[in-house]
């Protein structure tokens, strides 16, 4: 059984004219980019920032990168023991952490995979260069991006809180 139509519909041809007229009278959605700027969403994937002190040179990000755009070098150093008479500790020190944004495809797997919260997304997107070599951001520059990382939005009520309380 065909559903009953309760109110007569406007013929589609006239309705269509109404749609275009209404759209014309409303302001356009275009943002005139270089002159005016749009605020990207806080979780927009603009650039990846590095929190160097959290990095343990575990290489998980470099290994999981589909584009091989992350370059990591490090070495091991001996540190004095924590307690008197203890054994010397071995720590990994980060020498080089570069991301080549000419290769990066912004998949975010490195951010997902990092077990020590050393990589973060920042919504900043204005870092184009006239020379492609300058798209290789070293650890200093990646560290500077940390300032632009927004504080994460609060969890939804009732959401499971992971990690240390």
């Amino acid at each position: 059984v065909a559903p009953k139509l309760h109110k007569p519909k406007l013929p589609g041809l006239i309705g269509g004219l109404g749609v275009t007229l209404k759209t014309m009278l409303k302001p356009a959605v275009t943002v005139q980019y270089p002159h005016e700027k749009e605020d990207p969403a806080p979780r927009a994937r603009g650039v990846i920032a590095l929190k160097e002190e959290n990095c343990t040179v575990c290489m998980l990000c470099a290994r999981s990168c589909p584009d091989w755009c992350i370059y990591i070098e490090g070495h091991k150093e001996k540190r004095p023991p924590r307690r008197e008479g203890g054994r010397e500790r071995t720590v990994s020190v980060l020498d080089r952490f570069d991301i080549d944004y000419a290769l990066c495809m912004y998949c975010g797997i490195c951010v997902e995979v990092c077990p020590f919260d050393a990589l973060f997304w920042s919504p900043e997107f204005e870092y184009s260069e006239s020379n492609i070599a300058r798209l290789l951001h070293d650890k200093v520059k990646l560290g500077e991006w940390m300032e632009t990382v927004p504080t994460p939005e609060p969890l939804e009520i009732g959401a499971e809180v992971k990690g240390k309380k």
Binding site: L17, T20, Q32
Partner: protein, 346 residues
């Protein structure tokens, strides 16, 4: 005639007058094409699609965009296919544009502001406007390209089919005005009265609304604009008869398209909306204000035409023919019959 000439200080012999009129008509078509192209194609269409269109060229809302495009066309290489019929290929765009120029000869912009006053003005305007079919066919045939030929044949079938409703729509006006002269039709509307009240004159759109609608639909098809743009349907025929054209020859087609839209809008404004006349203005002032009034009315009509163009999708080829022969022409004939009956009765 003397009033107008004295007003414009043009009482200088027929040679100078002729030269001036020629220059005005020659300037009018590209200027009209630019105005319509900028206002509607670039701006109105953009806003109907919720975007802004060009904003930077020229500083103010991208007004310079089309001029720049035109200049770009001029510096392009003039390419001609090897197997093209060279002479016909070269002449075809000119034929299209000339048919547009010729229409403007009879459209009055004021009591004295008309290039040539013709007693058969409407007949002449419709006759020369349909000359463009010849140019289109020439272009399609001479291109030695199957898409161009298909486009040209579609254009010919379409323009012939829609010539009839266009004509029938105008016949109603001609019967009511009792004259084919465009000046006479404008005067008929200016001096008319709506049930004895002559404050507005009597624009024929009130009595000939069916004719006005028919005229707009048929003009849309004559201009090969959406929803009747099968001759240039890019998804089927690339660009139809224009497919092999580049540079300034392509520019000619572009000017022809929008210049013709300008001409048809002016014609519709003259036939149905009272042309250059506004109530209470006569004599010298009508000569001064006439062009502006005509332009305002013309833009109104053009808005209707382009509004439809930017809203509807393309019809199918057989639907196109069916609309003309099964609907528009019978309606046009009925309109003529009714107009004739009323003319005799009152």
């Amino acid at each position: 005639v003397t009033a107008g000439h004295a007003l414009l200080a043009l009482d200088v012999g027929w040679g100078t007058t002729l030269a001036l009129k020629t220059i005005i008509v020659l300037a009018l078509v590209p200027a009209g094409a630019l105005i319509l192209g900028y206002t509607f194609l670039l701006k109105v269409m953009s806003h109907m699609q919720s975007r802004l269109g060009p904003m930077d060229p020229g500083g103010f809302h991208g007004w310079y965009q089309l001029v720049g495009d035109g200049l770009k066309f001029l510096q392009k290489e003039d390419i001609m296919p090897t197997k093209a019929d060279r002479r016909v290929f070269a002449i075809a765009p000119a034929v299209v544009v000339i048919s547009t120029f010729l229409v403007f000869l009879v459209i009055p912009a004021g009591p004295d502001l008309v290039v040539k006053h013709l007693d058969v003005g409407v007949f002449y305007a419709l006759a020369v406007s349909s000359l463009s079919v010849v140019g289109v066919l020439m272009a399609g045939w001479a291109s030695a390209n199957k898409f161009a030929l298909l486009g040209a044949l579609r254009a010919a079938a379409q323009l012939i089919a829609y010539e009839l409703p266009l004509l029938l729509a105008v016949v109603g006006v001609v019967i009511q005005a009792g004259t084919m002269s465009l000046q006479g039709i404008v005067l008929g509307q200016q001096n008319g009265a709506i049930f004895g009240w002559d404050g507005l004159g009597q624009p024929y759109i009130l009595t000939q609304f069916v004719g006005f609608a028919l005229f707009l639909v048929a003009a849309q098809a004559e201009l090969t604009q959406t929803p009747f743009d099968m001759p240039v349907a890019e998804s089927e025929l690339v660009a139809g008869y224009m497919v092999e054209y580049t540079g300034f020859r392509f520019l000619f087609f572009f000017i022809g398209e929008f210049g013709t839209a300008f001409a048809f809008a002016a014609l519709a404004a003259t036939l149905f909306l009272g042309g250059y006349a506004i109530p209470g203005v006569t004599g010298t002032w009508a000569n001064i204000l006439g062009p502006f009034v005509l332009f305002a009315k013309l833009m109104l009509v053009a808005f209707l035409m382009f509004w439809v163009r930017f809203t509807y999708p393309r019809l199918r080829e057989d639907q196109l023919q069916a609309v003309a022969w099964k609907f528009l022409i019978p309606i046009g004939l009925a309109n003529i019959l009714l107009t004739g009956l009323f003319k005799v009765a009152f």
